[in-house]
Symmetry: C2
Subunit: 241 residues, 2 copies
């Protein structure tokens, strides 16, 4: 680490939200930055392609180096090692005065893995976060399901939470989005049924991505629901009621 | 109403999120649509300029007609009359086969007045909602305050809610955004202090707009906080902890 290098001489780390899937849902700012920044980093599965990179692909300029941050989906292993390695690789470029763009599905600060790079690099380097369209509002748009009006409270609940947590959180607000659904669908369905909300809940799979699907809860199969599925529900049925 | 006209012959209503304020935070899709749709509508105060229109201005093409939806900020009067009149004016264009773009600050379905036009027009006309960057994630980006990681629950709480509601909702989730702050700041501050969260709350005024300001709760004046201010708070202090 070269502590004598000041922030003014170093590159800037850009956390760039690339939106939920449709490349036309990038912001003008994101597209402009991707056209000029030659070092890109992005989360990727242990093997295979990165969703964030595929969304950004039409807007990339002349890329000099790619830093895939390969995550293992192993709950027993903390991701710290991958973030440490990724942050170190990115820091080398920033120290040499080169900007780095980290591609983030949706918005960088809304359940984004960029947050762990931000925690490691923001103390030492200039960082700019470019907000993006989140899967939350993209799913609402696709489903024709307004999220909230007036003084509604909205709660976003990750489906891996314990059943009692989900029930408590759902019961307390007028509107809810249940995210990271995957294999947790049967549990979520039980809670919605107990609260009398199953009839008005909508499930959106892969909003704005290939294979997008919108259906009512009673038409959703308990098996095979993708991780990137969201359930939206409003207690009044429709937010405008 | 010409009931013999089918949806195929009528125009499409576009609800277009123009983002939180910075015109470069429009999506490519929004900018493209605004460049070609000649009839635009937008919420506006009873007198003066529309924020949504000013954000969209650099991207507007040849506009043939503008339909300002002027809202009275009178809590005693329901806005139904303004929405009825706006929907009727928009319907005339749609029936004649002309597309209409409604400009929406942030995202159309996240506390947006577009929802009331959608309720009136979606049963009769083709509608496409173009999601936008919300003030929620824009404020987080500006403040360098990640909203949520892993299985955090996030609750969005409008500050006009009763003090007991705000306390209950805040107590139940790991992360919170308190919106529509304005004159409700003293009440919100009391709740944050009772929950021991005032020291880690951040207030963002006019995220991405002229006059943007980020400060800690203890530096915020109880007087003069704008309506478009947001408080962000995470119970762990930082979302990545």
């Amino acid at each position: 680490m070269t502590e004598t290098v000041t922030k003014a001489q170093t590159g800037t780390l850009y956390g760039i939200g690339v939106g939920p899937g449709d490349p036309s849902l990038l912001t003008l700012k994101a597209a402009g930055l991707l056209g000029r920044i030659a070092i890109i980093a992005y989360p990727a599965p242990e093997q295979g392609d990165s969703l964030a990179r595929s969304i950004a692909a039409p807007h990339l300029g002349a890329v000099a180096e790619e830093i895939p941050l390969r995550m293992r989906f192993d709950p027993a292993q903390r991701a710290d090692a991958a973030y440490d390695a990724g942050a170190a690789a990115i820091a080398l470029h920033l120290q040499a005065g080169r900007d780095v763009a980290v591609l983030c599905e949706g918005d960088p600060f809304f359940y984004g893995s960029f947050i762990y790079l931000f925690a490691r690099l923001a103390p030492r380097f200039a960082v700019e976060v470019v907000p993006g369209v989140s899967s939350l509002t993209a799913a609402a748009a696709v489903a024709g399901h307004p999220l909230t009006t007036r003084d509604d409270a909205l709660v976003v609940i990750p489906a891996p939470r314990p059943e009692a947590d989900i029930e408590r959180l759902l019961a307390g607000a007028e509107a809810a989005a249940i995210i990271k659904l995957g294999r947790h669908l049967p549990k979520v369905r039980r809670v919605l049924e107990r609260l009398g909300l199953a009839g008005q809940a909508i499930c959106i799979e892969r909003a704005g991505q290939p294979g997008q699907r919108v259906c009512r809860m009673d038409a959703v199969d308990d098996q095979g629901t993708p991780y990137f599925a969201i359930i939206l529900v409003h207690k009044r049925g429709q937010a405008w009621s």
